[in-house]
């Protein structure tokens, strides 16, 4: 029966918004992997749209195309990850900006915004319990009974005489 499911338009709008968010993320983020995730987000938006159409028309084709996009995404992910790994090995960073030397020869580089390092929070590391305890020492304690027993002057002898 028509109208028992949310109308097609809703799916299309969700798909469109996902696609747009993917584009925005792709344009703004600099991390290679996040950029790629944003591209996948765009694919997801498309998939939502396709499935919406499929449901609307009751034909399998939309789902079939969504499955194709899924397979495509998998292939893409494999290649992209391999590329990222190689790029990371060379550049020690996932930042796209370090690959600006791939631009055309006559183009100026785009200066990228940088930021300061995050201030490191002062960490208070816990102290482990000591392995063993040493008794408290006072170098003078040992002499005390002796001295108190000693009368004024010398020649006094403790004990047996």
């Amino acid at each position: 029966m028509p109208g028992s499911e949310p109308a097609l338009n809703n799916y299309l709008i969700v798909g469109a918004l996902l696609f747009t968010l993917g584009i925005v993320g792709f344009l703004t983020r600099r991390n290679l992997i996040v950029m790629f995730l944003c591209a996948e987000l765009m694919l997801q938006g498309v998939s939502v749209t396709l499935v919406g159409f499929s449901g609307y028309h009751g034909s399998w084709s939309g789902q079939v195309f969504a499955i194709f996009s899924l397979a495509l995404a998998a292939a893409e992910a494999g290649i992209a990850l391999a590329l990222f790994v190689v790029l990371f090995r060379r550049g020690h960073s996932l930042d796209v900006s370090i690959w600006q030397d791939l631009r055309e020869a006559d183009q100026p580089p785009i200066p990228d915004e940088t930021t300061d390092d995050e201030p490191q929070a002062e960490q208070v590391w816990p102290r482990l319990a000591p392995a063993g305890l040493l008794p408290a020492r006072s170098p003078k304690t040992a002499g005390e009974p002796f001295e108190s027993a000693m009368p004024a002057g010398a020649g006094s002898e403790r004990g047996l005489r």
Binding site: A129, P130, L133, L134, P135, T141, A142, G159
Partner: protein, 189 residues
């Protein structure tokens, strides 16, 4: 070391037979072994001893090296003369002594504090060997546990109380006098 070094002796991998290559026989061997043990224990032929109820038996408790004790002399005073020889002999540096003038007329020096870190101790018995007055001995108490590190650091009182606990069961190795026995107190030359 390089792989072609003369010092390396290369041993060829043992050649596996058909069954070995399949890994099947070892796998079945493993399964049958555990099954055998399972049923043996299930028949009640296990080796486990129920510890707190069944105490383990020592051949000779006098040569067992368990918790330390500080022996007392006939008058109930600590026998130790704070000579530090046990601390010197200790390979684990777990003994810490503070010596001082003794309050008794027939003794020069005695331990004001005598501390053994039982956690650090390796129970080698060297302290017992080193002691010239047989003051420190290792008992057959083996189930030494504690809830904190501090608790496992035994001070003089605790070590003496170990003696009180074990003196009936395990007599002192020697009942002789302390390191040197002078003439009875009160007599001059």
């Amino acid at each position: 070391m390089q792989p072609d070094s003369k010092q390396i002796k290369w041993v060829d991998e043992p050649k596996l037979g058909l069954a070995g290559r399949l890994y099947l026989t070892p796998l079945i061997d493993g399964l049958s072994l555990t099954a055998r043990h399972f049923f043996r224990t299930a028949r009640g032929e296990g080796f486990t001893r129920q510890f707190p109820e069944e105490r383990p038996l020592f051949g000779n408790p006098l040569i067992y090296r368990g918790v330390h004790r500080l022996n007392k002399d006939e008058q109930g005073r600590v026998k130790c003369v704070a000579c530090f020889l046990c601390a010197t002999a200790c390979p684990a540096h777990c003994i810490d002594i503070i010596g001082t003038e003794s309050p008794w007329a027939d003794r020069e020096k005695y331990p004001q504090s005598f501390v053994i870190d039982e956690l650090r101790c390796i129970f080698c018995g060297m302290c017992e060997e080193a002691c010239p007055v047989d003051a420190i001995e290792l008992t057959s108490l083996f189930d030494l546990t504690g809830a904190s590190r501090e608790e496992m650091v035994f001070d003089k009182e605790k070590l003496l109380s170990v003696y009180d606990q074990t003196c009936d069961l395990e007599p002192m190795r020697s009942r002789g006098p302390a390191a040197h026995s002078g003439p009875p107190p009160g007599k001059d030359h």
